[in-house]
């Protein structure tokens, strides 16, 4: 499958003459050279792909370059070097007029602090992207009302942003970004400014919308729990570099380095890991119980069954073939030791 949006070897440097500097160092300067010449690297040599219908979460601490990277993807920031491919077309070579058209029809973005226009009602805010395209008033308000209903703000279309709570304001931000039915959806820490309870609710809401809409999503967060909850795949960034890209399970079981391992240490693995990652190969003549679990089951969901059984359980794959066994001891080790001890 071809990526919907991808970037290759993207750099963003700040300083006197970033292009010249990169060229002089063959497009890949060392950390020492960057510091010595007084440049500030925001994104270094980043490559990633987002496939149609996928949620890619870009995760990192503040200052790790995740916001800059996502702005390079939408060309809100001009990358110093590299390519950004949108449907296979290099976005960086697209002329300004055409870029506006792409943004008007194919991209949507949600912002951390909502970025609503304070002088416009909810309806006018949501209809804003349609308005700048020149869609006539009746059509755009009709469309805006539909989306307002979709995000659960029905009946509040005539409120002003100041009259809404933070969570409601972000619903407006989400509705606005969806108004033009974009293919690609960028979300820049959309829930970070909200209270924990509201944040959780909004995450559920987001997942609900995504099962209906199947957008291609680049989602930024600094919250690893949020990343795990939402992501199909996660890209972890540190000091401008993408350190690792993988499914949540891959990150937990095989962290690329200590930095990634630090994030995954406190994760509730039983909710994340599948039986496949704790099962062992079946030994000949080993006594097993009658029960069977599937290798795609989450450990948390079948732990009671395994721990309650004296004998190990058989593990089956999707076509009901037995591919391994899982013992009480393995599960208890995983649950309580919290060591990355995952054979199988």
């Amino acid at each position: 499958m071809d990526a919907k949006i991808a970037c290759r070897r993207v750099w963003k440097l700040y300083g006197r003459d970033p292009e010249g500097f990169l060229a002089a160092h063959g497009g890949d300067p060392s950390d020492g050279a960057i510091v010595a010449d007084g440049y500030i690297p925001a994104v270094r040599h980043a490559s990633l792909e987002v496939f149609p219908g996928e949620i890619l979460v870009i995760m990192g601490l503040s200052g790790s370059g995740k916001s800059t990277l996502v702005r390079c993807l939408s060309r809100l920031i001009e990358p110093t070097a590299g390519e950004v491919l949108f449907d296979g077309q290099d976005l960086l070579k697209v002329p300004a007029r055409e870029l506006i058209e792409i943004r008007r029809h194919k991209m949507g973005m949600v912002f951390q602090h909502f970025a609503l226009l304070p002088h416009r009602t909810v309806l006018q805010n949501v209809a804003f992207p349609l308005e700048v395209q020149g869609v006539d008033r009746a059509t755009r308000e009709q469309r805006a009302l539909e989306i307002i209903e979709l995000v659960g703000l029905k009946g509040r279309d005539r409120y002003y942003p100041r009259e809404l709570s933070g969570g409601q304001q972000q619903r407006v931000g989400i509705a606005r970004s969806l108004a033009v039915e974009p293919d690609v959806w960028f979300l820049d820490e959309p829930f970070s400014a909200l209270d924990p309870l509201i944040r959780r609710e909004m995450q559920d809401e987001f997942l609900r919308l995504q099962t209906m809409l199947r957008k291609t999503i680049a989602f930024i967060t600094h919250d690893f729990d949020e990343a795990i909850r939402l992501a199909d795949r996660i890209a972890i960034m540190n000091e401008g570099r993408i350190v690792q890209i993988g499914t949540p399970e891959e990150l937990v079981t095989r962290p690329a380095d200590d930095y990634v391992a630090n994030f995954t240490r406190d994760v509730a693995r039983e909710k994340l890991l599948t039986i496949a990652s704790v099962m062992q190969a079946p030994a000949v003549g080993q006594p097993v119980s009658d029960g069977t679990v599937r290798q795609t089951d989450k450990v948390a969901d079948v732990a009671r069954q395994i721990v309650g059984s004296e004998l190990p359980l058989r593990v089956a794959d999707d076509s009901d073939r037995i591919v391994g066994v899982v013992s009480r001891a393995r599960v208890l080790d995983m649950l309580f030791s919290r060591e990355p001890d995952s054979g199988g």
Binding site: M109, H113, L117, H119, V132, Q133, V180
Partner: protein, 664 residues
């Protein structure tokens, strides 16, 4: 400034100066010693290091006058001169001016009279009600009714019409310049310093060039008003646009806005709060200036006030002053209410339900025309029924003079003999070289070489402009006034910051006082001390105390609450909390207040020249009398540069200090 950008030697020097331990003493020694040295050497210095000889002075005045002469006489545009051009543009202003004046009071012809006074008053009530609520409507009504009943209706409406014409034009020019500066980086770099100087130039410096290129009269006054008021709008437009959150701008980009859509649909609406602060200030500056513009022939309240003051008819002057004050209060309140007004939901229904205030306004106009047709007193309040309080005031002043004259004279004479005259003599000994050394060391220490360089330029200009002695006299008056202002201001400020109720009361008074055109402050000074240096200083003090007081309160109240609580739990007495915790933290804010006080004082010193002083203000006055544009501009720049020197030093200091305290 970034220390890493400073060369090593300089860094070491700076460290040594700042030192550790006894740093205060070292700083004082290092910064002040050179200037004291030059000062002490004063008598032994060669004359040219003390006062630049007249033949060395740069002939700025001559240059400017020569340039003015060329613009006046030479037909640089082929068929006509620059002055012809400016006059032609000026003539355009007559149309809106006549139109608004005709509506408000003069009328279009015998058969089509202007609005009756009850109509204007009614409209003011509707407007106040619409913008804020019933209370503001009532205040607006009282203010306008007062103008009519006290027989000042026509004068007031003439003044109001100038404001109503000048403010939108000045606002539009300012917004256009602000947008241009926002769009083009090079234009911002050019515009910003010009705005700084323009805002530091005293009112009168604008008048003489205007008088030369446009002539004396009502429209010249209006144009001077526009020129005086637009810089603040340009500055606030630029600040507002720059202050739009980057996220909001990105949201616009992602929605697919073109540059034009971005500006008009996203950036300008998002900058509305700052723009509205600008609108309020433009209106208030217009009013302040139109009152003063009577010096170049603007009609209205200012004109009459000027005449009364010249003839020392204090009672009548005071009465006009009160009207101006009312006008200031109501314009300020209305424009602030407009700035605060949030967009509102429209009700469903027929026109008069959806637009109740528009309907009410129209009804007011129709009803008042009909009523005025039958009762002429509702068209224009008859002179015979006008109330005047002037005799009362005159009697009061006579009483004050009879009973308090000796005391007032005693205060005045004591201060003059023991403080003011010695201080003045001391200032007059100051060599320009000492000022140069002083300004450059301070500038370098707090702001680096760039600030030091600009300070040097300003100081050299003052020395070589040819008005050194006058500059010193101005400096003496201003610094004495500023010292008094700071003493009064900080005492009142500390008192007012002690409790929320006190703060509220004092801030209300300050807000009100601040809206008064500066000219007004001459009235009480003249009333009590007649016409002399001392009265001028009193006028400055009354006017310039406001910012110090305001920022003392602000600084003290801004001290983070947990720091105060920490101090109290550490066992500080209330006095210790104030002096050991709150005052040090509030000090940067207070310094910025003092900075503004200096600016206010410099402005007022020029206006006070009207009552006979011997400083730069007096020079501007004289240059006005003989239409010497060059001189008025050169002297105006002297005053502006004095202000800017202080401004730059204090700001550099406050930045440093705030960074140190982590208040940024």
């Amino acid at each position: 400034m970034a220390e890493s950008a400073v060369p090593n030697g300089e860094l070491a020097l700076r460290r040594w100066v700042a030192g550790t331990g006894q740093s205060g003493l070292r700083v004082a020694l290092f910064l002040v010693a050179p200037s004291v040295l030059v000062l002490a050497l004063g008598p032994f210095l060669p004359d040219w290091l003390r006062i630049v000889p007249q033949e060395w002075s740069a002939p700025f005045v001559g240059w400017i006058n020569a340039a003015v002469e060329i613009l006046r006489r030479e037909e640089i545009f082929g068929l006509f001169t620059f002055r012809d051009l400016t006059r032609a543009i000026a003539n355009l202003i007559d149309y809106p001016l006549d139109f608004v004046e005709a509506i408000l009071v003069a009328g279009f012809s015998e058969s089509v009279p202007g609005l009756p006074w009850i109509a204007v008053t009614g409209l003011a009530i509707v407007l106040g009600w619409y913008l804020q609520g019933r209370q503001l409507g009532v205040i607006a009504g009282i203010c306008f009714a007062y103008m009519a009943i006290f027989g000042k209706w026509e004068l007031s409406m003439v003044t109001l019409s100038v404001v109503l014409v000048a403010a939108p034009i000045a606002g539009a020019i300012g917004v256009a310049l602000g947008i241009a500066a926002y769009k083009r980086r090079w234009f911002e770099t050019v515009l910003w310093p010009i705005l700084n100087v323009m805002q530091a130039l005293p009112h009168f410096s604008y008048m003489i060039p205007v008088a030369i290129f446009i002539g004396i009269g009502h429209k010249a006054g209006t144009i001077a008003t526009i020129i005086f008021a637009f810089p603040v709008m340009a500055r606030l437009t630029l600040l507002g646009l720059k202050g739009v959150s980057p996220e909001v701008r990105e949201a616009g980009t992602m929605a697919g806005c073109t540059k034009r859509q971005m500006l008009w649909k996203v950036e300008l609406p998002a900058a509305r709060p700052t723009l509205m602060v600008g609108v309020n200030q433009v209106i208030m500056l217009c009013l302040a200036m139109v009152v003063l513009a009577s010096f170049v022939g603007a009609k209205g309240l200012g004109h009459d006030l000027l005449n009364r003051l010249r003839s020392l008819w204090i009672g009548q002057a005071l009465e006009i002053g009160v009207v101006i004050v009312f006008m200031a209060i109501i314009l300020d309140r209305l424009s602030q209410a407009w700035a605060r007004k949030e967009p509102e939901h429209m009700r469903e229904g027929p026109f008069h339900v959806r637009h109740p205030f528009l309907t009410a306004g129209a009804a007011v106009v129709v009803v008042s025309y009909v009523m005025a047709a039958f009762v002429p007193a509702l068209q224009l309040w008859p002179k015979s029924l006008s109330i005047t309080t002037a005799p009362l005031w005159d009697a009061l002043i006579d009483d004050i003079i009879v009973y308090a004259f000796d005391y007032l004279e005693l205060i005045k004479d004591t201060l003059l003999v023991h403080v003011l005259i010695p201080m003045r003599d001391l200032y007059l000994m100051l060599p320009w070289s000492a000022l140069l050394v002083f300004a450059v060391t301070l500038g370098w220490y707090y702001g680096g070489w760039q600030v030091a360089g600009i300070q040097a330029l300003f100081a050299l200009y003052l020395a070589f402009a040819g008005f050194w002695e006058r500059t010193l006299i101005t400096a003496y008056m201003v610094s004495f006034a500023v010292i008094v202002c700071v003493i009064i201001g900080s005492i009142v400020g500390i008192w007012a910051a002690a409790g929320p109720r006190r703060t509220k009361v004092v801030e209300l008074i300050l807000d009100t006082f601040q809206t008064f055109p500066s000219f007004i402050y001459l009235i009480p000074a003249i009333m009590l001390f007649s016409v002399n240096d001392f009265a001028a200083i009193m006028a400055i003090v009354i006017y310039a105390t406001i910012p110090t007081t305001r920022l003392t309160i602000f600084g003290l109240r801004m001290v983070p609450h947990d720091i105060v609580e920490a101090a109290i739990t550490s066992g500080c007495t209330p006095r210790q909390v104030l002096w050991k915790v709150r005052m040090p933290l509030a000090f940067p804010a207070i310094m910025l207040g003092i900075n503004q006080t200096i600016m206010y004082a410099l402005f007022m010193v020029v206006i006070a020249a009207f009552i006979g002083t011997t400083d730069l203000g007096q020079e501007i006055f004289r240059s006005k009398a003989d239409n010497n544009a060059g001189k008025s501009l050169v002297v105006g720049l002297c005053i502006a540069f004095m202000g800017l020197m202080a401004d730059q030093l204090i700001n550099a200091w406050a930045r440093e200090r705030k960074k140190l305290l982590g208040l940024e």
